[in-house]
């Protein structure tokens, strides 16, 4: 099977074969990152715009380094410097960037569907770096890559995603990617943050943390986004930790080979005990390394994608 997509806007529309192709390609790019010379000429002469309309440090940095390692030219465009603050519409901003003959637009936006919108109005390839509460495809791909690397497979594994699920684009993309590849996904957290509606995506929903982690092969912790409006969702961070935080006591009741993941940035002492984050069970830093390989693979694949099926629709 060949990759034919010109854009990567979501995981939901990908097939299991397409996800596997990204993971296989990423494995080769990970090896590039381990060489003395970490750069390949695959995107030489191409221009990438990193259009981050919502603040981001780690995803933007990861994309930037991936693009540099593929020899692309890069324009960074962030909220502080942007004309969007002066009232320019997203479409006008993007069309202006396109007038510079850019080949790829990597976009992070607070509005769900912004990347899909751009992919319809622009000639450039569009890659979603997180849109609202919709999806964060490259995070799901790097999570899936890390799980496959650690466990040798995805199918049949029990993956528990624990924490702030309600508005989490990471949780949504993870559920799509993992269930398509045959994992059993359980979502857990306070009822206010983990509504039953997620069962429609093919995941199991529980509000009992002991039950959620006991049989899990993977425990993926999501950050409590306490800077957002969370006051009405649970009484306090301390109470969250006592009911849902991954403490040493809770970790002792998990499978001994269960691995701990987190997309970062972590709140030590809130969703995860500080010593667990630094332990051998944690693959949090491997996720960061793998993020580079996965993003290089995505850029490499969409570069060759002409997107006939997408253009036709």
């Amino acid at each position: 099977m060949n990759w034919t997509r010109k854009h990567l806007t979501d995981i939901e529309s990908l097939s299991a074969e397409e996800i596997t192709l990204v993971l296989d390609t990423a494995r080769a790019f990970k090896a590039v990152g381990e060489r003395a010379i970490k750069k390949v000429p695959a995107l030489r002469g191409k221009t990438v715009v990193n259009l981050f309309i919502e603040p981001s440090t780690r995803t933007r940095t990861s994309f930037e380094l991936s693009e540099q390692r593929l020899s692309a030219d890069i324009i960074n465009f962030n909220t502080e410097a942007s004309s969007l603050k002066k009232g320019e519409s997203l479409k006008d901003t993007a069309r202006n960037l396109e007038a510079l003959n850019v080949d790829f637009i990597v976009i992070r936006h607070s509005a769900s569907g912004a990347p899909a919108f751009l992919s319809r109005v622009l000639q450039a390839s569009v890659i979603n770096a997180g849109d609202g509460a919709h999806e964060h495809p490259t995070q799901a791909l790097l999570d899936t890559f890390t799980i496959r690397e650690q466990k040798g497979r995805i199918a049949g594994l029990k993956v528990t995603i624990l924490g702030d699920i309600l508005y989490s684009r990471v949780a949504r993309s993870d559920v799509w990617a993992l269930t398509k590849l045959g994992a059993h996904v359980t979502l857990c957290g306070p009822p206010t943050l983990v509504p039953r509606e997620f069962e429609q995506m093919g995941a199991k929903v529980t509000h009992n943390v002991e039950e959620a982690i006991r049989e899990a092969d993977i425990i993926n912790l999501l950050r409590i986004q306490h800077e957002r409006q969370r006051k009405t969702m649970f009484p306090s961070l301390g109470e969250y930790t006592s009911f849902f935080g991954l403490t040493k006591q809770r970790l002792a009741k998990t499978k001994p080979d269960a691995i701990i993941m987190h997309p970062g940035p972590i709140n030590r002492g809130v969703e995860i005990d500080s010593s667990i984050a630094d332990s051998g069970r944690s693959v949090i830093l491997q996720q960061v390394t793998n993020g580079l390989a996965v993003r290089m693979a995505v850029l490499f694949l969409v570069n060759g994608g002409k997107g006939p099926s997408e253009l036709a629709s």
Binding site: T25, R27, I37, V40, L301, G304
Partner: protein, 180 residues
């Protein structure tokens, strides 16, 4: 399905590889500075075969690596992204004679990409090229040092080297239509 002609059978491939190994040994008197690098995918099992024969000739192990050239191709935005195979270079190539090994030499663009890719791993003293089949139609000024068999072809034809699951070369066939 077009007409297929067997150009080399398993025995003929083995004889050709044995001769190529002896030619490599003749050109490089001491084996201690020679490494073989197979180009993914067909070149990799051939490099392993040549390394085994050369080890016998030189009475010392001859290292063989594998190189994927996908990331160095010159047509990446003109085609669907190639399936990237593993690159494994378990030795330093700086100062060594690298014998690049491929199954079929055609336009020469793969070899150009391979020479670029090798640059990322070090600075060889010399690069030589060994191929099982040279089918002509070069688009770049590239020439093989060691050739198993020259097979004159038309552009519309395709050459296919078949391997067993364990990487033993079984046959070379010429087909009257290009591979789809």
């Amino acid at each position: 399905m077009g007409e297929s002609i067997v150009v080399l059978n398993q025995g003929a491939i083995q004889r050709a590889l044995t001769r190529v190994a002896h030619e490599i040994a003749e050109r490089n008197e001491s084996g201690s500075s020679v490494v073989l690098v197979g180009i993914q995918r067909g070149g990799v099992p051939l490099a392993a075969c040549l390394a085994e024969t050369l080890s016998g000739i030189w009475k010392q192990p001859v290292p063989a690596g594998s190189l994927d050239v996908s990331m160095h191709r010159d047509d990446l935005d003109r085609r669907a992204a190639p399936h990237v195979q593993p690159t494994h270079m378990p030795f330093d190539i700086t100062g060594k004679t690298v014998v690049l090994v491929d199954d079929v030499l055609f336009s020469g663009r793969t070899i150009r990409a391979a020479m670029d890719a090798l640059n990322d791993f070090g600075r060889p003293r010399q690069i030589e090229l060994a191929v099982l089949i040279d089918r002509g139609h070069r688009e770049l000024p590239i020439k093989a040092d060691f050739v198993g068999k020259n097979v004159p072809t038309a552009l519309a034809e395709s050459v296919l080297v078949k391997f067993s699951d364990t990487g033993v070369p079984l046959s070379v066939t010429l087909r009257k239509e290009p591979t789809p």
